[in-house]
Subunit: 474 residues, 2 copies
């Protein structure tokens, strides 16, 4: 193959969520760009992330629901069962729909503007891609991330699963140890357990699902621990044992068919040749960059999405890609506000956090309102009345700062709370909003009413509705 | 029994949601009050409304869900069945929990402050209750509502069901005609159909679920019509036929075991002796009153909850009760802002409306954004990708006015939209909020993005994130 040399206004490296979002912005201004992608097309979200995991979770939830049947008058003479190969096929069918959708209208129609290969910096404005050279005035790095797997475990071969290959399996093993109980480990651990896999969950920390609020973490550990053994506080050690794996964690040990490694996602930085840029990097090797412009300090290079390790969440990756793409083609570097942080773990109940993490709050200035779901009307009706919702505000004036929850329909409560935080609302402001009955939103109302009682009395408003004018009595 | 005469500062008539809310406010200021209630204790919501209906709906939804099992890999060798007497017992068990909760701490502990009986005005400040006289400086009328049943149908006896007796049945008939497809008729029609009752739904109007948006109504009629026959546009006529009932509507006719009458709820005004007050009333017989003070024009009398026929919804009844109670004990009459209107019909998909009804909008100034749920990621994952969401704004500047939907998880989308409307947000403001992936909230985002394209181009913002400062390019 002859080496080619191309000059473009913008090169976008990576055709995932961030890269495609960047390209969309670039395309509005110029056709003089290339999109470079190494490896499989389709975003992390659609291929191996949000979408296939949510497909498994939905099946698990539907199947798990049979446990209320007796209580509510639904009769099942024979137990329902799950046909796991069929479930996995269903998951891949859905995944293919989502992957096709991502590709349609983006990489499908690019022609020469698309380059298949791994890009490597040969200089600040020069990329090497499978023998080709691309000189670009502006570059967007959006190479994404991949699951962390300790090198020592590679020797266990196909007994080590990650999200990269889990959904490709034809069948699931009888037993799995889920190593790492962050967002992904907790979601998949619960879902696999619910469709009949014998799951053991292990994490080196004492907290699960990335929860920083200790009260919420305690409930989460308790609720998850009712579905499968949860071993916390010790790193997992693996040993081969008659073609299976012995997994040990502190004093505890179990032999399983496979392990599902969920130790986080590593930025795909190592093949980029970033040393050519001569830029400062942080401990994870990520070049210093501005999260409001996505610019790498002082260069016409932007870094967006999972690869910058800031907020490895789809909607944030899309925002970062859009900011990076926009700044890659505009006359000035424009700063953009970021959205209020929100994370959702799609366990049942959902785990979610909003705004300032609990560990970053100043306890001396803090008021916390909380509600347990035991008596919450709608939660009782749904037979899902387990969980805890905590809402944070400035004690002085009731201004909302964020919250943490393990809650039925927590994904929806988290949106309401995040929007309120982003708008700078106080607990009094939010209590003036409509809360319908019997909706789960009444749980948020109850938590806010509890919070209100903990605000400085001098700024406390005892009546929820906004006062208008006053008239004399008859 | 000796006739007694009592003098109090406040008399509250009716121990439902509005009356109890009023009493709570009164109690903060004085013990010199009475609560008078005729008939069964417990609120309409807890006894015969929201709570028992939602309990039936939840069972129906759980049972209906079996229809996705095949597709997703859940194997059921024998069909699931429903044991209806057990379902009804489960519903009553839940209902009793909610009724007990309403009574606890309110009417339970009142002692002499509670009077059992129907109150009747003997003068502007004088009530007659089962032979007793109560003279009250201030009176709150909160007598609620009851199902409308045409007199001519009373002769069909126990073949006529309403929400007052439906949940008391030991078993359900094989076939039911649901007469009236407003919120209650649609919810119960769908739920009864799903647990195996042969349902025919009939309404004299061409619209269902109180929907005013014709596009949403069309989808709702279509989706509901797939579950049970829906006959619209003709009043139902009933005739006895060999101990069953022949129900005719226009050209169509069916013989059923019973009818469930859902023709709305009539304010309980007729036994109050309101003619003693000499106040002006509207066509429904409701005294003229101010919805921000709940005061009846020029009198120390307040009217709150279903009985005033304004907004027959629990959270509104509670607000009205609180306003009425507060004004009944305060030195001046205080006006309060009301919450943005929101209604939710707990069908599947949910039907919801927010803000200004479609029929009250000025089409010449209007922009409408919409999204169908067919391709919405989370809806596909849930196998619930049916429905339509429409969002309204001022075309000139994108200020949100409201919306209408039949949507999976519509109850949650309706809250987000209602809060945004109440805060006076524009479509651009709301698009700056976080929308998590893959959450159903992305459907609202898509509808808003569609809406944005229909706003006057001079005020249209093409980039969603808020601009901060600008820096020169490197």
């Amino acid at each position: 193959m002859m080496e080619t040399h191309r000059k473009v206004q913008v090169a976008v490296i990576g055709a995932g969520t961030a890269g495609l979002a960047a390209m969309t912005q670039v395309r509005r201004v110029t056709d003089n760009f290339v999109l470079i992608n190494g490896g499989a097309l389709g975003t992390t979200c659609a291929r191996v992330g949000c979408m296939p995991s949510k497909a498994v979770i939905q099946v698990a939830e539907d199947f798990h629901r049979r446990k209320v049947f007796d209580r509510v008058g639904i009769v099942s003479k024979q137990h329902l069962t799950v046909d796991i190969p069929n479930v996995l096929e269903h998951v891949r069918d859905l995944r293919d729909i989502f992957v096709d959708r991502v590709l349609a209208g983006t990489t499908d129609e690019l022609g020469e503007q698309f380059i298949d290969g791994y890009a490597r910096f040969a200089g600040p404005n020069l990329l090497q891609v499978s023998g080709h050279r691309v000189q670009a005035d502006n570059i967007v790095i959006a190479t994404g991330s991949r699951p962390v797997v300790p090198d020592a475990w590679r020797r266990f071969g196909d007994r080590v699963l990650t999200t990269d290959n889990l959904f490709e399996q034809d069948d699931l093993p009888d037993s799995v140890a889920v190593l790492g109980l962050g967002v992904i480990g907790l979601e998949l651990g619960q879902a696999l357990g619910r469709i009949g896999v014998e799951v053991t969950g292990i994490d080196a920390l004492q907290r699960v699902g990335g929860i920083t609020d200790p009260a919420v973490n305690k409930i989460a550990v308790d609720l998850m621990g009712r579905e499968f053994p949860v071993w916390l506080g010790h790193r997992a050690e693996l040993q081969e044992e008659s073609r299976r794996l012995r997994v040990s964690s502190g004093e505890q040990t179990v032999v399983v068919d496979k392990v599902l490694v969920c130790l986080g996602r590593r930025p795909n930085l190592d093949r980029l040749g970033l040393e050519q840029l001569g830029v400062e990097t942080d401990a994870r090797g990520v070049p210093k960059h501005d999260p409001h412009t996505m610019q790498i300090d002082g260069m016409p290079i932007f870094i967006a999405g999972d690869v910058n390790a800031d907020r490895q969440i789809l909607h944030e990756a899309a925002d970062e890609g859009r900011i990076a793409g926009r700044n890659a083609v505009s006359k000035e570097i424009q700063s953009y506000a970021r959205r209020t942080p929100i994370t959702i773990t799609f366990t049942d109940p959902n785990i979610a956090s909003v705004g300032v993490p609990f560990t970053d709050l100043d306890e001396s200035q803090l008021a916390v309102g909380e509600i347990r779901f035991g008596p919450v009307g709608r939660a009782v009706l749904m037979a899902k009345n387990k969980g805890l919702l905590r809402v944070y505000a400035q004690r002085r004036n009731g201004k909302l700062l964020g919250g943490s929850m393990i809650a039925p329909s927590g994904e929806h409560l988290a949106h309401l709370l995040a929007w309120s935080v982003q708008l700078g609302q106080s607990v009094h402001d939010v209590l003036r909003m409509p809360f319908y009955h019997p909706a789960i939103e009444e749980a948020l109302q109850a938590a806010l009413q509890d919070l209100k009682r903990k605000i400085d009395p001098s700024t406390r408003d005892t009546f929820e509705l906004e006062r208008l004018d006053v008239q004399p009595r008859p």
